[in-house]
Amino acid sequence: MLVLENVRKAYIEPSGEPLPILDVERFEIAAGEQVVLRGRSGCGKTTLLNCIAGLTTADSGTIMVNGRDVTKLPEATRDRFRATYIGFVFQTFNLLPAFTALENVMLGMTFTGSKPDAVRAAQLLTDVGLGHRLTHKPRALSVGEQQRVAVARALANRPVLLLADEPTANVDPAHQQHIIDLLRSACEQENIAMLLVTHSPEVSQQFSRVEELERVNRAARVA
């Protein structure tokens, strides 16, 4: 379902020298598989997620998602592809403050080209325990509730791949497990592959497949 081959990415330092960030020979995740990716800060975890999502372009290599190479797609097509097939849960939730919880979830449906489904959005929020908070704006929600809205938004378009970038880092311990449970059960129910980046040993020990980025990413080993 997700296959990376020979993916390389380097940033240019102020001195003009290239600084390799990613050098992935091969990395793959099967459909419905749940994988944890661990690694120290600065080893390229977020860049890897951004490359997979098409938010950053790799310098070389192929990134196949659901049978399509996202590196070969024109930008507008890649945006639409991301909206349709990839869900994203951020560390800082990234809810839009002007919109209610329901609208934030519907916003995730807006850019696929089909009409946002308010009923599904409300059901997703109900499933994450926020049926009574549909019309609340993010500032009126607790941190745990905000992340649950973000989870519902990521699932809104029935993606084939969910990218979660340290989704429990800003959530208090009491709610961490709830978020992980939510993500895992939703992915299992809808056969969504999940790549979850985390520093937390408590989280990673719950997954059968845990990858160290230094192993996957040769550039990280050098750094």
């Binding site: 997620l49 938010l55 945006d79 991301r82 994203f88 800082t92 002007a98 919109f99």
Partner: protein, 441 residues
Amino acid sequence: MSYFKIAWRNMQERALASSLTGLSMALGVALMVLVLVIHEVVVAQLSNDAQGYNFIVAGKGSPYEIVLTTVFHVGKPLYPIPWKYYQKFVDGEFAPYTDLAVPICLGDSYPTEDGQLFRVVGTTPDMFNELSYGADSQGNEKRYEFSSGRNFRQSHFFEAVIGSVAANRTGLKVGDRFQPSHGISAEGKKHDDFEVVGILAPTGTANDRALFVNVEGFLLLDGHARAAKTDAVAEPPIVVADAPPGQPAPLPISQREVTSILVRCNPEEMMAPMQIDMGVNKGDDLTAQAVAPVSVVERLQASFLAPMRLILLVLTVMIVIVAGISILVSIYNSMSERSHDIAVMRALGASRNAVMVVILVESILLSILGGLAGLVLGHGVLALASPVVEYYTGVTVRAWSFTWQETLLVPGLVAFAAVVGFLPALSAYRTDVAKTLGGAR
């Protein structure tokens, strides 16, 4: 969710900044509406003032002076011409081409205690019985009407009719008597008094601000008669039927003068306007001149009002441009704090064009809402001011009638907003998602 709703929510989130920006646009548009409508009203009123007759015949002088003094009751009247000239239109050489001739005698005024000065005009009852002023929206001629009382009578020399504004401002009402002052100043000698027998309904013309007396009474006032010639042939006495007891005899024709004559051409004579024009302006007797008031008013509009309107419009357009720039500044300044939201939208799958459109829609919404508020505000101010303006000037301001230029405002604002919104929209377009979301490595 539509781009419209996304833009609307963004505006709601920044309610104060959006309101202030919209308000500046509203004020600009309101000023533009005021300039357009007031100009339209003034032009319409000026045109109405000079309608109902084809020529004004008066002594030598500038055509502007003739129109200003006779039609608008402004300025110092020209020297009068002999009454016999008026008779040429009644039963003389111009009579076949004339449907109606109304004499106008000027030179007196009526000062109020609070320092206002209203012109006193000597004329005949035909002024209000026969003449019309302007036309209504269906093209029908408007006739003078009386809000109280009636027209003065030919046989009663000391009766008067007063305009609606003059009545409001002087406090005179039917049955009251007033004394005109000689000359156009409050210091003039007081004349005999006239009785108010009628108050004109508002016409929106300069006649609302004047007092009209029977020309026969006007001619009999001190200082209005020409000195009788010693070798003058005795005239037969003028008999006035139904004259009230004690009324003096009319002034002899040879001692009479008239300031101007309003002439309505005979509609059955195709060549009447040309005959009168040629006869008065190029005939043997060059005592007087005939001017067409409509063309003079058009020249007045073209010479004075049109440039003034242009200047005012340029100023208001500049105000709208400043308001537009404030939209640009407001949205552009917000871009740094909103770049994160834009990056999130991009991460959710919004294309660069989509986030650009959202910003443009926001700019257009602000402009349209501000513009519509400006339209309502402008016309609302006119509605509030209308009774006051009408009370003091007699000019009826139809607050909720729209000028055709206003229909261009909305498409104009959309285009303008798209231009001013382009820079912040471009900033949204160029947002680096990975960098903005903090994805360094």
